[in-house]
Amino acid sequence: MSEINYEIVKKRAINFFVHVFLILVSLSCLFPLWWAFASSLKTQATVFTDLSLFPKIPHWENYYDAWIKSNFSLYFLNSLFYTATVVIGVILIASMAAYAFSRLQFAGRNILFLVLISTMMIPIPGSIIALYVLLNKLHLIDTRLGYILPQINGGLALGIFLLKTFFDDLPKELEDSARIDGCGRFRVYWHIALPLAKPAIAVLAIFNILAVWNEYILAMLVLSNKSLMPLQRGLMVFQGSHVTQYPLLMAGIVITILPVLVIYLMLQKHIIKGITAGAVKG
């Protein structure tokens, strides 16, 4: 009897310390974010002395100032626009190509597929230079298109790979019967294959949303006109010109994080499934 008790006590003690450790690590993840939020509600005068995590008088007007006076509304709308266009572009172009690679016959199909997804495996840190040179030549520097097109291209490899795998596993019967009914290739793809691929498209969309929303280096090289900048670039510009306006900077950071946070919390199961499926399989 006493031996059983000892086992239980031991197990509970271990569990207790495990939870203490996990909670400490969790706090280290959450604390900086909460602190940024708390600081965004303080004033320039109190932000360095008032270390409270729940400011007594929250200054929500900081958000108004950041949004209106410090251009964050502009950056926010730009980010929204870039994210939407890139994600739609990737989904359309990648799904069409993936459908062809999975279902249609044409010469050079396998080689073309390998070439297109090779960018996933080969690290080419230098090609950003040549990309810049190219965009310059095409007069796409400091244009929205110059920021959008390379990012659509950047999402294609993963998208084609993911969607081709999905189409390959899909039964062909539905498409066959549609074809017998006289549907052309494009209508079969658009009305049958694409709607069926919704789960894979959702995963693809989430990854691209996060990637585009968080992108920085291309925005730094391509965009120097404030009215075209996305949030990440806007944050750096703001920090560069208003070094000391911490509450406003923190408000800008919260504005930048919030959409990511909402999407992440809503779709975290899919996100985590998405990264792990690829990783464990491959």
């Binding site: 939870h19 450790f21 996990l22 690590v25 969790s26 280290s28 993840c29 900086p32 974010l33 602190w35 360095f48 172009i93 069409m96 190509a97 062809a100 690679f101 249609l104 016959q105 073309l112 070439v115 960018t119 080969i122 690290p123 080419i124 840190p125 230098g126 090609s127 950003i128 230079i129 040549a130 990309l131 810049y132 040179v133 190219l134 097109l149 291209n153 950047g154 294609l156 084609i160 929303w213 968080n214 992108e215 920085y216 090289l221 990440q232 944050l235 750096m236 920090q239 911490y246 994080i257 990511v260 946070l261 992440y264 975290q268 985590i272 990264i275 792990t276 990783a279 464990v280 491959g282």
Partner: protein
């Protein structure tokens, strides 16, 4: 009939045409262009460029200590990420693999830093490390270690380590999620069978968990190396490469050489050398893992 057939075939190509055009323009062309530019001397604007052969590479290999120093800095962060960050990720994955209560909540929290941008993370940590108002100094003062206070990111002695800590804070949750998935894909029956045969925890770990996890370990290490060597956003948002060259990394050097000093050919040579190094490292890793699996 023939015309019909050609039309049909052409239609199939139209499906891949947009993808191929984008790929050819924004991936293939820059990829090849880098090699061409790497043997040129060019300021990026003037219509003429001078062919310098392997001059850029010679200068880079023999006469550019700043670049190799930046490589060393990235390597320092990478070694820390491979050891400390991945070890933490592994320990957390083991703890959460034991059907622990609230396991999913921990997972959601640990993966939060990885979904944020390097810029945001860097800007927040700037303030934690600040010399005058930083939280870290406040905390050190609070526990009686005020003597250690400093401006962590502008002190040459601590800047690189401070950046490495930010990078690991942002990255460990990613390794954790992949390692946990790997652990969870090991069939439970294997563990039970081993226990029935009288194996203790260590033998189970040594003979079941480790061999089955090797592919996952390799994947996590390769992606950690590739991701950390190419660190950029966090550096730009915190130190910008300073103080001096103490936190310069290859990508900051390449960007600086390009837009800062307008040496486009030279920057391309740096990109080629850096890319080859990354490729070799990942190939070695894959080789080693294959050998280990055969043993």
């Amino acid at each position: 009939m023939n015309f019909q057939k050609i039309r049909h075939l052409a239609g199939n190509y139209i499906f891949v045409l947009p993808a191929f055009l984008l790929f050819a323009t924004f991936s293939l062309y820059p990829f090849l262009k880098v090699f061409q530019l790497s043997v040129m001397s060019w300021d990026g604007i003037s219509p003429e460029m001078t062919y310098v052969g392997l001059g850029n590479f010679k200068d880079l290999l023999l006469d550019n200590p700043v670049f190799w120093n930046s490589m060393g800095n990235a390597l320092f962060v990478t070694v820390l990420a491979l050891t400390a960050q991945n070890l933490l990720a592994l320990v957390l994955a083991f703890l959460c693999d034991r059907d622990i209560r609230g396991g999913n909540i921990y997972r959601v929290i640990f993966y939060l830093p990885p979904v944020l941008s390097g810029i945001v993370v860097g800007l927040i940590w700037n303030w934690i490390y600040d010399g005058n108002y930083g939280l870290l100094n406040h905390f050190l003062g609070f526990i009686g270690l005020g003597d250690l206070s400093r401006a962590w990111l502008s002190d040459p002695k601590t800047a690189l380590a401070a950046v490495a800590v930010i990078h690991m804070w942002k990255g460990f949750g990613w390794g954790f999620v992949i390692l946990l998935a790997g652990l969870q894909s090991i069939p439970r029956e294997l563990y039970e069978a081993a226990r029935v045969d009288g194996a203790n925890s260590w033998t189970v770990f040594r003979n079941i968990t480790v061999p089955l996890m090797i592919p996952v370990f390799v994947l996590v290490s390769i992606l950690t190396i590739l991701g950390t060597m190419q660190i950029f956003d966090i550096i730009i948002a915190t130190t910008g490469g300073g103080p001096g060259y103490h936190t310069e990394v290859p990508i900051t050097r390449i960007v600086q050489t390009m837009v800062g000093s307008s040496q486009f050919g030279y920057a391309c040579a740096m990109g080629v050398v850096f890319g080859v190094i990354l490729l070799v490292v990942s190939m070695i890793q894959i080789r080693v893992s294959k050998m280990m699996r055969q043993v």
